[in-house]
Symmetry: D2
Subunit: 369 residues, 4 copies
């Protein structure tokens, strides 16, 4: 595989301003691989940092965005024998410094040296260059092989599922036979619904407000989806649980009412998992929490190597992320891709960009290439 | 449902001596139900206690054996509204005293008042009368509703699966994407193989010496079964795990060589789960354990209400125990049933006895009635 | 020890109306003991339920209040050999039903049959008669022997410490070498400060607004107490933790600002423990929680038998609750006792009532009788 | 602080052959510090690898031994701001590769690239040069600041205590109020006894066969020490636990009888912690383990950063390791030091070597310099 000197990359050049530029292909360090990117999925965080910079972000004009991607290994760092050239891979975003208190005991997504490149921290697409480009450098800790039958588009969503599974691990991980309610059928909520089912949950109930998204869940085998504009969430959950409440409530809407519902529908001694990132404080019923011994657990990123588990579930076809990829665009159409994603054009859920330019420029195309 | 005054029951009348007797149908106490037994599965423990008494066992001549059974609720104790007459149910064996240090924090299978009926402990088929009879009394904590589509024969094996799931919970429960090796394809090992798969394990490898049992595993979807008379267990596992070893080794053969293998094939920081009950001390490589930070976890019974999870997995058809029920007999043929079970006649795995006598006496019949 | 037929008891006769009445001494059931009460501590919950009834409360005119008490065993239920007459004991409030999903696995303070006496649930002083009386019945699961050198007054506070220790267990329990910040120097916060120290915490910082209470903490060996009216809590904690934040923040003020501070001062991947019972919803910075992978854990009561641990820490003199008992009154002065407690007269922290009437009526007296 | 070009070091030159040599002072890499060693404690592992090489050991003639040491920071790697020159520090042995499955999630003492220096693994004194020298290089992850009042000799034992605390964390860490029995009063067992006490254990019982070592325990406040040549271990423990057995049994004798005792004395659902490294397989009663739901947990090294906790306990004076340092020698007397340690001359427990040569050569001297 010959590697060109130059490549196309989506560079953030200023607030609210991205540009497709030609830049130098980077070289992997001793513990890195160079990945030839095939698919990169847009994420709400991309939208956020384009709008106003995130902490530790590289300078405008240099910063290549994109943190959910997949591709093939194109070159190896000098100490790397964990991968070989040509391996099909997906990635996770966070590589911890390895030397702070949190990283030392494995909590690398909560690295205390976040954004400190010199000390070893990297979060591609956040604090170091990302994968919305034809090539990208990844520390090997952030790279996972994918099986042949898992397409690049689906694989580019593995981080979503990794976050979800990190959440499950945080909650104890043993949902077999339990009732899990998911609030918010976005990419994370849809992934969480399938993950709950894959791990043997007794009942999986997905609550949302958009029928198109609830429909996607149904098509992936989630039996009970409820439009909470039509039915009362609390009543539904109580009916399904003999009035006890659910064992786990997973909040992935990132909203105050979502959290309010989550706290309310959880049974005594149950757990609320916060998978969304709410943007401002909102009132919460802490009396309900404490009187009923309910806990709130959170997730930052795809910790504890759960992208590896995610790939395994895709491998076994226990989770199917393909229906979440509603649109794909060549990298040249990056603006249209973001427009489609932001405005949920044609029911867009996940929009995937294809940096290798082998697509027909004039149409979106099927994700399962 | 009219309840007769008398019933048939298999009574242990002396060492190695059981008799089908007519006895009085018992009456449920305030927190009990009376179950009309449809299926009772024979277990190695039955064989053991018939041979020589277990601690806390009721007197010869009174003791009705049998601890794995299913049936329908026939009468309710005065405070019971958790069940209603006619509910199809399966059971678990252990009801803790509720007042010892272990029971108080939920570890009822390790009750410190084991065998002390006055203080509330009961283990049907061990320290109180069991279900190898037409009727049996169960404390409601030991009763679980089963869905209509789960047959009584399969349901009578739920305790096996409950033990397995208690083991998984003890190990942390989050085997998604992990490699699980099971040693010994008996009823517990076969259940464990399926449970590992159902909970999203990345690889499930079953090791055994009898092809007929390994074949049953294959038929229930376990991809990799290995006859260790033909292949070296250590080599197989190392090949499948890039030389690292498995994440979890589940010993269910109850033998010294089984435990030796389990310790050897587990990766550094991995866990060995002892699901079998070895009968005498045997040498173990504790240096391997400590140098490699491997842990040995054990299971006593179907703790932490895991029979509930078991029923859920049967309900979802994520585990299929039907192929384990190789033979059924009417209760009148109890001797033949034990003979078949003990001598593994015709590849017997689980042998189920039917107390309600509605079968053709002259033949075994299909378990999925 | 002869037991009289009648006894003095503080009965709740209507909203905001308690009366010292003469009532019949109750008789213990099969798994109960009768306790001759020596000391009963007033608690904020008593104040709450006197004002307006709590769920499951016995009828006005019958309900004897009081849930934090100690005394001697005066009579035994027929199956009880765990205690003997004359044993000095303290209690915990919650006895679960033993048959709901939560109780079965040991979570009895979150019993799903709360208030259902018929099914076995009891919470003395909440849903069954309490200990603000000369005698009281307790299920043996709620009784703990105390060593001779632990006074009844101090022992009556064991439940407070039990709640705290249940919280520590919920957080993982291994605070050795960690930084623990406690917010709110009430009885629970003062107990938590000492418990953190007793369990080997590296730094214990107590934040409060009342110097008199902070002073009590100092006298029990808490090195760092901070009046947050004088210093900024966030700055103090960051200074003490190299800018990282504390490992555990324990909120025991029950206020919105307390929770706000707790969330803010906790390090990435740290834990917030909610020990207070906030009475109305208030805004919380969930973005801080999720971006930083912080968890909120709660405590309902003195779960998982932690009153046993509490007694052990008192026995070892690792925790000293005596300085929290600022006032004692004979039971005849129950109104004055509540007045002193409610209005924090003379810096009242815990007020203890003495039902056995052997005190000088005209003065408060030393608690370590 | 001027650093010389050459230094004294104890080099392993062949099987059973160490030499005090003059070698070049090494230079720290980007994430390292250079430590000027003040105290290095001899350990059974040193004795083992001198006798026959351990896996991954550097070549004879180059390998500087010693893995338990303390000193002052003499030089900093280019990215290091976590320490400054002159900091008093102690160390831990293991620095994981940071890239294998185990290291990624914090299990660095179980690194799958053990001995692979190129991939980043180092275990000073095992697979890279150790601290039985005047200077040594340490990755900053293996360095911990110590307070002024903790002497270098005591601090050199921090790894022992770190191993113990890692074991406690592995067991759950919440021994408050529990009964802990320690078998084997060597350096690890003596440390474990004190740690159990420091973490609030209800009862700490130390079993051993040498009165001199049991005496040391007594002098550090361990109430109950038992010479099992005089009393039966099982009886003692049963007497102290109302016949239930201990909650935690810590095996630190590394012997078969020690493990046999540990399994026997543990209560149902209790845990056995294996802190010793037994050298050959021995029979164990697995039936006792499985029938009683007991678990065996192990420790490899001082994982999960527990040396940090160890230093904190020394700082708080909750653990006192000084009495364990029975002898000190200047580095020139390394042979005598080993002779004393191996043959337990004059009741030697821990023998500390002083590389900076400022001691009177002709006598041992007090450790608390």
């Amino acid at each position: 595989m010959s590697i060109p000197g130059k490549m196309k990359a989506v560079v953030l050049v200023g607030p609210d301003k991205i540009e497709l530029k030609e830049v130098t292909v980077p070289k992997p360090g001793p513990v890195d691989v160079l990945i030839r990117v095939e698919s990169v999925a847009l994420c709400g965080s991309d939208v956020g940092l384009i709008k106003s910079p995130f902490p530790g972000q590289p300078p405008y004009g240099e910063f290549i965005i994109g943190h959910e991607y997949s591709g093939t290994v194109a070159a190896l760092g000098e100490t790397v024998d964990e991968f070989k050239i040509g391996d099909r891979v997906t990635v996770e975003a966070h590589n911890g410094c390895g030397r702070c208190r949190n990283c030392r005991i494995g909590n690398y997504t909560a690295c205390l040296n976040y954004g400190n490149r010199e000390k070893g921290h990297r979060a591609n697409g956040f604090t170091t260059n990302g994968g919305c480009a034809q090539y990208v450098i990844n520390h090997i800790n952030t790279v996972h092989k994918i099986p042949d039958h898992v397409g690049f588009d689906e694989a580019s969503l593995a981080t979503n599922l990794g976050c979800v599974l990190y959440g499950f691990e945080t909650m104890g991980g043993f949902v077999a036979g339990q009732t899990v309610v998911i609030i918010g059928p976005g990419p994370i909520g849809l992934s969480a619904s399938q993950a709950a089912k894959a791990l043997g949950a007794g009942k999986v109930i997905l609550l949302g407000t958009r029928d198109s998204r609830l429909e996607i869940a149904k098509n992936t085998g989630i039996d009970m989806v409820v439009n909470i504009r039509e039915k009362d969430a609390y009543e539904v959950v109580m009916n399904e649980t003999d009035g006890i409440g659910c064992d786990y409530a997973i909040e992935s809407s990132g909203t105050g009412p979502g959290m309010e519902t989550a706290i309310k529908i959880t049974r005594k001694q149950g757990k609320v998992l916060l998978l969304g990132f709410p943007h401002k404080p909102f009132p919460a019923d802490f009396e309900n929490l404490s009187l009923n011994n309910k806990h709130i657990l959170t997730v930052r990123g795809e910790g504890w190597a759960n992208v590896g588990r995610a790939v395994s579930l895709l491998d076994k076809k226990l989770v199917n992320l393909k229906p979440l990829v509603t649109h794909t665009f060549p990298i040249e159409k990056i603006e249209e891709a973001f427009y489609t994603f932001n405005n949920r054009i044609d029911g867009a859920v996940k929009v995937v960009v294809k940096p290798q330019g082998r697509q027909n420029e004039n149409s979106t195309f099927n994700c399962n290439t």
